[in-house]
Symmetry: C2
Subunit: 423 residues, 2 copies
């Protein structure tokens, strides 16, 4: 039996992470290992935009060593984008264009590495190509620091942010404890998670002994109650001499406004963008008088490959590999998932979800992961989160700095006469 | 010949660092190795305040394992303080009290671990005890993330902040490069250094290849020129597609105001405290229209023991050890220093400075360490900084988190009938 050999396309979508390139590494190495079935693996320059504009990268021009180095390189090596394909009813031209580009380059495999929107896109691409009679295998690969995809037990990218946040608040907590007698008594660390408190919750992992930081966590799921919060801060300073706080960027007040935007105005009277940490810190200063410091980790948290979770790296890689293996096994319109087998000792395996199950469903944090008072995480939450930050996976260093790879990213000659105007 | 055996006192002063406890480890382990000469080593709870209030910690109650763990624990294990002793003419009572406490506990060795102010204090304590006929050996141990002590080639604490800043801007730079096509084009990272640009300069170490982040550094030494800066940012985005910026918290405008305070007002019209990064980011958005992200690392940078420089850890430890050895060798009113023997391969040894040389002298960054245009570092600067971030020194991890020690810090029974009211 001869098996048809076709080319493949891989693209990264949405906000990048410390480990999305580990998934890319899994995809590319596995494709290379199956060169009898998969010809050239093309990557989209800047994600799906690269497919729409026929701006393809020839990954076969990259050395094995450079592809291996993707495993320890944060960010999106081929460029990512925030560009959501519209529905088939709204912009059929985008889907037609994708098929046109895929057909021109004999692309039979479509691997799309992203969050919920991207899984939705993959699903639509699978449906459309089927309807058009164009043979295409579409496989999603999960990625999101927000940990908000359904079916999969967790999302690659999240574990490393979680580890960064837990390590950072532990370290800052030690610092503030040292200074509290005569100086800083309040430390506020702002973390990502506009809609869900997964990342903020991860900060809670640092508090493994009584009285350890963080003392309070402000979740987007819990409406900010200024009076109650200040009372908690006051009690904490009375008891421990200081108070270390993790606050989610998505914290909202009773009016449903982001606290980050409700508090301050710039010199022109505009609501200031970003920065709930300084708002919370200043509130404490104004009302309780304590000296404060605050930090906003922003991209540092999701790019922090230097302190990535080994579990996260391994899972990201395994999901990339599984995506290719599923494609070769004849699957279509699916996404490999992480299935948890045991919490302690942690055990997991690769599972599978239909893209239709995953697309546009947001996994919320269960209310019973947050303590009754709304400022901490429960034992159930710890049990869930703990394995995800297990292990270290240090990148190589030269001259004191991590050695991350920048690929050549050589362009594939265009075959189509027409361009494509992005919507 | 019988040698007198006396107790010792050690205290941490000012802002803590990722490696000041490594110096403490060096002091305590070396003192324990010389138990024929040094009796009990007492630590001041919350620094010099512990001496003034006779709140001493008995370090002999800590296990060898816990003392060893100080080497990889950030922050100040005995508590630090921001409390500067006044001059002898202004508050003689403080010096008299120190001698009273030292005499009550037969303390013959005074080790004070801090910055310029602390070296000044050590020097005054040495002078005063001599004048009073109280036999005391006073040795300073350098520490400051600001790297602003004279004589010593560099200060423990700085190398680890430098490494954190360089690693972080490299990682964030990779992230922004991935996103720039359709999303974030500007990233601004704020770092410490109110008066000197050493830490900001360290960010420049990340730019080892053409076009790599950071593209621009804003130093406290260079007056902020808005128009010139915006032109530079614009050119950078044109050339590279994005722009990654390191800004020192100490950046000032032509009027000499901190840019952090000049730009924004809170809802009540007060100048907002802290945060030059959002001011710079918003300025770029308003004038050039680019989407931005910003980060303020704050304490995370100086507490980041997880990514400490091995060079820094080794030097911090060696300086602690040298302090005790100098005391035992009969030195007084001195501070061990780092002497650079070679840049490449890096070689250093311990030297010695008189406290009178060190006290109240601030080491500024040479102008020729900053490029002519004011936005980058020169090769001379790289040559100086590069060795200081060399090597990693990872702490042990349990359950995915670094294991930092919290000491028992048991109080020594008071011997004096009187307390002491702090000024």
């Amino acid at each position: 039996m001869t098996v048809e050999k076709r080319n493949a396309f891989y693209a990264q979508s949405g906000g990048v992470t410390a480990v999305i390139n580990a998934s890319a590494c899994g995809v590319i190495q596995t494709a290379r290992a199956h060169s009898d079935r998969i010809g050239t693996l093309y990557a989209g320059r800047n994600g799906i935009i690269g497919a729409l504009t026929e701006d393809l990268i020839d990954t076969s021009r990259e050395s094995d060593a450079d592809i291996a180095a993707l495993r320890h390189t944060p960010s999106g090596a081929f460029g990512s984008c925030r560009y959501k394909l519209k529905g088939l009813d709204k912009n059929r031209a985008e889907y037609e264009r994708l098929i046109e580009v895929f057909r021109a380059h004999d692309i039979g495999y479509f691997f799309y590495n992203g969050g919920g929107d991207s899984q939705d896109t993959s699903n639509k691409v699978a449906q459309f190509s089927r309807a058009q009679g164009y043979p295409l295998t579409a496989i999603g690969i999960p990625k999101t620091v927000d940990n908000d995809l359904p079916v999969t037990d967790n999302c690659p990218g999240f574990g490393s942010v979680a580890k960064y946040v837990a390590v950072s608040i532990r370290e800052a907590g030690f610092d503030v404890a040292s200074m509290a007698k005569t100086s800083t008594k309040i430390f506020v660390m702002e973390v990502m998670g506009r809609h869900a408190g997964w990342i903020a919750a991860a900060g809670g992992l640092a508090a493994t002994t009584p009285g350890a930081a963080p003392h309070l966590i402000l979740f987007p799921e819990i409406t900010f109650d200024e009076g109650d919060f200040l009372a908690k801060v006051d009690a904490c300073v009375q008891t421990h001499g200081y108070c270390a706080i993790v606050v989610s960027e998505g914290l909202r007040n009773a009016q449903g406004q982001f606290v980050a935007e409700a508090g301050t105005r710039d010199a022109f009277g505009h609501a200031q963008l970003g920065g709930v940490a300084p708002v919370i810190a200043q509130l404490i200063k104004d009302r309780l008088g304590h000296k404060f410091h605050w930090a906003v980790a922003d991209y540092l948290q999701r790019a922090a490959r230097h302190i990535a979770s080994r579990t996260d790296v391994e899972q990201a890689y395994a999901l990339g590999r599984a995506a290719v293996e599923m494609a070769l096994a004849g699957e279509n319109a699916v996404m490999p998932t992480i299935v948890r087998l045991a919490d302690e000792p942690y055990a997991w395996e690769i599972g599978k979800a239909a893209l239709s199950e995953v697309a546009n469903v947001e996994q919320k944090m269960p209310r019973d992961f947050i303590t009754a008072d709304g400022y901490g995480i429960t034992e159930a939450c710890r049990r869930y989160l703990r394995p995800l930050i297990l292990g270290e996976d240090y990148p190589p260093y030269v001259d004191g700095l991590p050695q991350y790879v920048t690929l050549k990213n050589l362009a594939v000659p265009k075959k189509l006469a027409t361009g494509f105007a992005l919507a």
